[in-house]
């Protein structure tokens, strides 16, 4: 019997309504007890006094790139980045090569994660075969193999009829569908948010309506079918409003927001905070889809998260190799390497207790992950021994070169953030410690 106690920290466990100084005792990889002195007899202890202790973070949206794009990220490096960011569970999007559209592909991800991963990986399967948007993938086979959700993320399922059928079929399996909400006809050619910054920089814009039209379509389909749909990375005030009114009408729609859409605006493309020739950064590290929007959109996303319209935070961790980013803005890949900055960036916009809930019990509930991992996202007795230890006051400077992720692509380079993950326990063992 191995026992690990994290002692004397401020334990925040939103699922159980706990916010108190206590020990967390893990026995044989599972949470055994939370309480004062619960860990006094443990064989191994971690002193967490002055620190915050919470359930391991759950990211329901990240890109681990393996198989196919190992120069950007591997399951090994991506899960180490996750551990450094406080995540003990990550859901891997299926836009790999080959895409995760077969049982074999799901099994590859699970097997690789088991042998090389630092934290738990739950694969997401494709909605359509080859992510081509033409016909449904073998959804039951994917679910059987261990896919926890379906998504063609990176691309939307453009054909609304096919999406309708996907929702109906997936509901039979009890497996949620995650949609990257984007109308490609409206976003075509766009490389950043359409607004005064794109006008000044002469870059083609992606209007807010490209996302909102798709979110509205998804809401209509969810209502029509009675099947749940989860909107990935909402980024505009209009999207938040559509989801809010849909929820009020009882439609089974959920939504996530990324840390960067909670904290950054389209101005990040123009000004990186570092000296730039001509004063214009054209910062490809701020090129992301959906794009960084206006301050009003950021405000609406924060308000939506606080009032429950947006269910949770998800990173959309999208690592890229340097050659994908050190190039012309139009040619640069979209995406931000976000696992290692997610917590602190979220904390810059939202109170600590809310950040923790939005990174633990809330995302687990959105995808119904307790069907796969009992009591995930909680510190309930019998939950997995996944714990994140945080110093909420520590200030640190983002140095991408020190990332565990192969993707050094962050617009936060050189910035000082407050709130640091100092230890991550996965299955009762330290997966990473500062």
């Amino acid at each position: 019997m191995t026992t690990l106690a994290i002692r004397g920290g401020r334990v925040i466990d939103p699922a159980n309504g706990i916010d108190a100084t206590a020990d967390v005792l893990i026995v044989d990889g599972q949470i055994a007890a939370v309480g004062p002195d619960a860990g006094k007899d443990a064989s191994e202890t971690v002193d967490a006094s002055g620190l915050v202790v919470c359930p391991g973070f759950v990211d329901i949206h990240c890109h681990l790139r393996e198989p196919g794009f190992e120069h950007k990220e591997t399951i090994e490096t991506g899960t180490l980045a996750a551990a450094r960011g406080g995540f003990t569970t990550v859901c891997a999007m299926p836009n790999t090569e080959p895409p995760t559209d077969s049982a074999a592909a799901v099994e590859f991800v699970l097997h690789t994660a088991q042998t090389q991963g630092h934290v738990r990986v739950l694969p997401i399967g494709c909605v359509t075969r080859g992510r081509a948007g033409k016909e449904l993938a073998d959804l039951a086979e994917l679910a059987q193999a261990g896919a926890v959700a379906f998504s063609d993320d990176g691309s939307p399922v453009v054909d609304p009829h096919l999406m309708r059928r996907a929702l109906e079929y997936a509901a039979m399996l009890g497996t949620p569908v995650i949609e990257h909400s984007e109308d490609p006809a409206l976003s075509a050619g766009g490389v950043m948010h359409e607004g005064w910054v794109s006008t000044r920089l002469g870059l083609s814009g992606i209007p807010a309506a490209a996302e909102e039209a798709a979110v509205a379509r998804n809401v209509a389909l969810a209502r029509e079918t009675g099947s749940p749909i989860h909107c990935a990375h909402v980024s505009t005030a209009g999207s938040v409003e559509i989801v809010r009114s849909a929820k009020a009408r009882g439609v089974a729609v959920t939504a996530e927001v990324t840390p960067h859409h909670l904290a950054l605006t389209h101005e990040a493309v123009m000004q990186s905070g570092r000296e730039a020739p001509g004063g214009l950064a054209y910062d490809t590290n701020a090129k992301v889809n959906p794009p960084l929007r206006t301050p009003e959109d950021v405000e609406a996303c924060v308000a939506g998260l606080l009032d429950g319209t947006i269910d949770c935070i998800a990173t959309d961790h999208a690592p890229h190799a340097s050659q994908d980013k050190v190039c012309e803005f139009d040619a640069a890949a979209m995406g931000i390497s976000g696992l290692e900055t997610a917590f602190a960036q979220s904390l810059s916009a939202v109170p600590l207790e809310k950040v923790i809930a939005a990174l633990t019990v809330a995302p687990a509930a959105v995808l119904g992950l307790e069907r796969h991992v009992v009591k995930i996202g909680t510190l309930s007795e019998g939950a997995p021994g996944d714990v994140t230890i945080i110093d909420p006051k520590a200030e640190w400077t983002v140095e991408p070169e020190t990332f565990a992720s192969r993707g050094k692509n962050t617009p936060l380079a050189g910035r000082t953030l407050k709130g640091k993950v100092v230890g991550t326990v996965f299955g009762g063992k330290m997966a990473w410690q500062a």
Binding site: T199, L201, G202, L203, P277, V326, F329
Partner: protein, 334 residues
Amino acid sequence: MTQEPALQIATPLDARTPWTRRHLLDLDELSRDEIETILETTDAMKEIMGREVPRVPALRGRTIVTLFYEASTRTRASFELAGKALGADVINVAAGGSSVEKGESLIDTVRTLEAIGAEVLVMRHPAAGAPYLVARHLSASVVNGGDGQHAHPTQALLDLYTMRAHIGDMRDKRVVIVGDIAHSRVVRSNIWGLAAMGAKVVVCGPPTLLPAGMRHGQQQTEEPLALPHVEVETNIDTALEGADVVMALRLQKERMHGGLIPSIREYATLYQITPERLARAKTGALVMHPGPINEGVEISPEVATSLQSVIEEQVTNGVAVRMAVLYLLARGKA
């Protein structure tokens, strides 16, 4: 035996506003005085161009490379002529297709050019911001010869120079730019330059050819880093009322696709600069066009060749302005 005349263009301006910039990427970062420095240096260059042998050795031994990722006749030739008139070695590199398609990154390409001695790199690229990327990775001077839909500073400078030659002080002068505002790098650079000189800029075109944030009757952003405010008109007759300068832009024929305009014919009906419309402008208002012209589309042939038209003069001034820019950037290089 007469000696080659020394270049008398170490001008008094240098004392007033010393030129310290390494690159010319756009006019947005230039002060009014800096723009004046370029324009007054251009005067000196015009004088050289009028000589029997229009050449001076001011940049002898300097190497200028033009790197064009888009087809261009006048801009590239204008820079080449400008460099040669100042005695520099000018190498022209035409890069077909995008650097990405060729499998060679833009940064690799320009580093190679620098390694073989380029001291000033004049570049045109279809991607907005490409010269900024290059400037970050190069110690050579970079001149933006047009980047995507973003900027074309030497075009705006030659426009300013031409306006100044005919009008003088541009303060409170009404400059009306008509056409595809949304996709025009010429417009963006002109807005910065004209704003710096105190002119009043009016842009005119159908809403589908106006960029985000420029809509008729719509509040423009108060963001300090946004493009300067302009007057936006969709009605050309209103726009031209009392104009000192009328600038028509080339309509790219492919704009018909994607619903930007119904047809070239309808565009011409609504926005062509005709003698009747021009009559609404001030008497003797200048007619300008960055070229090449689609006669009978954005401008009628009578207007393009009228006495008010300074379109050919713009081209001539383009060489002098580029001489001034190359001289200011390259003269200090050892």
